[in-house]
Symmetry: C2
Subunit: 307 residues, 2 copies
């Protein structure tokens, strides 16, 4: 897609919620795990099949409600090759259903290594005279600690292929202050990172004014978010930390501009594990997920009107 | 292993060189690629088979010369599930031949997600009543930008399982200064990161005085390396950037303590692509790799005596 297409999808559905898929055996509904073991045994492949069913059923159910999905790469990497095969398949599945697909891998490498990675995620892998598409991926999270050399390999895809990257600025976890909040002159590390994001955004602004290079800003620091929104009014924000981590609708209102644009709010556990709170046996987990996602949309709409 | 075991292996072989395996089709000897395509077609699986042959032949040839190996995760991720399957297999292959195995994935995530990742790389993946070992991995590179929450999930494995993590402090690429060299009070970001590494090392020091939590310090900044070695004399250094990136034996001498301990120097392209410089057809790439690795060992030994 592109940052414009993401914004248009959010406006069409009047919903800035991103579904976070962080599959992990202990949080899966028991019937899904049981069926997978019955078919494949207690194997890594069986676990991967359970992930696939869980994620694709959620994608089917929330299609039309939620504009975008975030795949947590580490969860799939946690099952090795079987997990990665399913991450590839789920990215394609999500794309076919119209979702904007972000893969949350927080990569940070440099030079040819970053190029190989960018090509695999955003482009096609050349093998002899053939080319192979592994993923359907609109966006990646990236870690800018290594500087330009780690970011530049992704920028041609942002400029020419409608892809996006979201740089970590201020993450939602409590200890993010240890490095990210270090003072440096009249800046802190995360504003220095934002300044770099603006520098690298040269030539990458879409028609609604936002850069194809966005930023990750945690929902758990509303004042920081407010300051960043004011100062960096051309960086689209990906906001994790809603729900289970403590971010609220009231907090995340500051991520948006006065038109209700410029941000998407991701939530994983509060949606995909919603069934666990209610004494459900998990067979109705899709209903709980739908209700949780709808409630999140409604809660945010009390503070943010998307024009 | 453990940081002590790594040090002992380096001392035994009198060699602080780490073989970097960054496979990528354009750098593979043509006969390997040709054979793989003949067997598997021009497919992603064919490419992965070529990677596997290339890496395992190098591991066989350099066994007994080089104590440790670094697998560049992004190269394998660049082939999706097929690449990851081979990274798992190559880690086991390397382990069987006695190498200390580092997987260079530069991860930085938090909480349960980091725990899932740490478990998959260092431990076993629980599936029902079974447990599955995906990798034989002694060490990982990690990115500390997210603070304690991103590092702590790895520490129990460092303390109890003989595993190591190497935190990025000052990387070898030119633009590393953009973030890592930002001044903050009387520190820069990378020394602040080193201070955190020391704080997290509490209880993790081996019998030779080095922490199980090491640091990545690029070979391309010798003065920085010297200062870091003096100030952080209990952090073991993993030093990338030798050879192709411009680091020299003269530069890397500063990574070692006065006993020639406390550092390992990684090189990838200058060893695995050594055949490309000489007008070879690639069939003798193993000889070139061996000679390059031996030369690197000898060059370093002019400046560093390992006691």
């Amino acid at each position: 897609m592109s940052i414009d297409a993401l914004q248009e999808r959010i406006r069409k559905l009047k919903n800035p919620v991103m579904l976070g898929l962080d599959p992990y055996l202990p949080i899966l509904p028991p019937h899904i795990v049981k069926d997978a073991y019955a078919a494949h045994g207690q194997t890594v492949q069986g676990a991967a099949e359970a992930y696939y069913r869980f994620c694709t059923e959620l994608l089917d159910r929330l299609c039309g409600l939620v504009p975008a999905v975030k795949l947590q790469s580490a969860c799939f990497e946690g099952l090795g090759a079987d997990g990665i095969a399913k991450m590839q398949a789920i990215s394609r599945y999500a794309k076919e259903r119209g979702y904007y697909v972000l893969i949350d891998s927080m990569r940070g490498d440099v030079g040819s290594v970053a190029e190989i990675y960018a090509q695999a995620m955003f482009g096609t892998v050349p093998v002899g005279e053939t080319a192979h598409k592994l993923y359907e991926c609109d966006a990646l999270t990236v870690n800018g600690y290594l500087g330009s050399d780690g970011i530049k390999p992704f920028l041609p895809y942002c400029k020419h292929e409608g892809k996006n990257i979201f740089m970590l600025l201020k993450t939602s976890n409590k200890s993010s202050r240890e490095v990210q909040d270090l003072l440096s002159g009249d800046r802190v590390v995360y504003t220095a990172m934002a300044d770099l994001a603006m520098r690298w955004s040269d030539g990458l602004f879409g028609k609604y004014g936002y850069s194809e290079l966005g930023a990750v800003v945690g929902a758990t620091f509303p004042q920081t978010m407010k300051l960043l929104r004011e100062k960096y009014d051309r960086l689209f924000f990906l906001v994790p930390g809603y729900g289970a981590q403590g971010g609220t609708a009231k907090n995340v209102q500051f991520a948006f501009d006065r038109f209700g644009h410029g941000a998407i709010i991701s939530a994983s556990r509060s949606i995909i594990c919603a069934w666990q709170k209610e004494g459900s046996d998990g067979t109705d987990y899709l209903d709980f997920a739908y209700q949780a996602a709808e409630k999140m949309k409604n809660d945010i709409s009390k503070y943010v009107v998307i024009l």
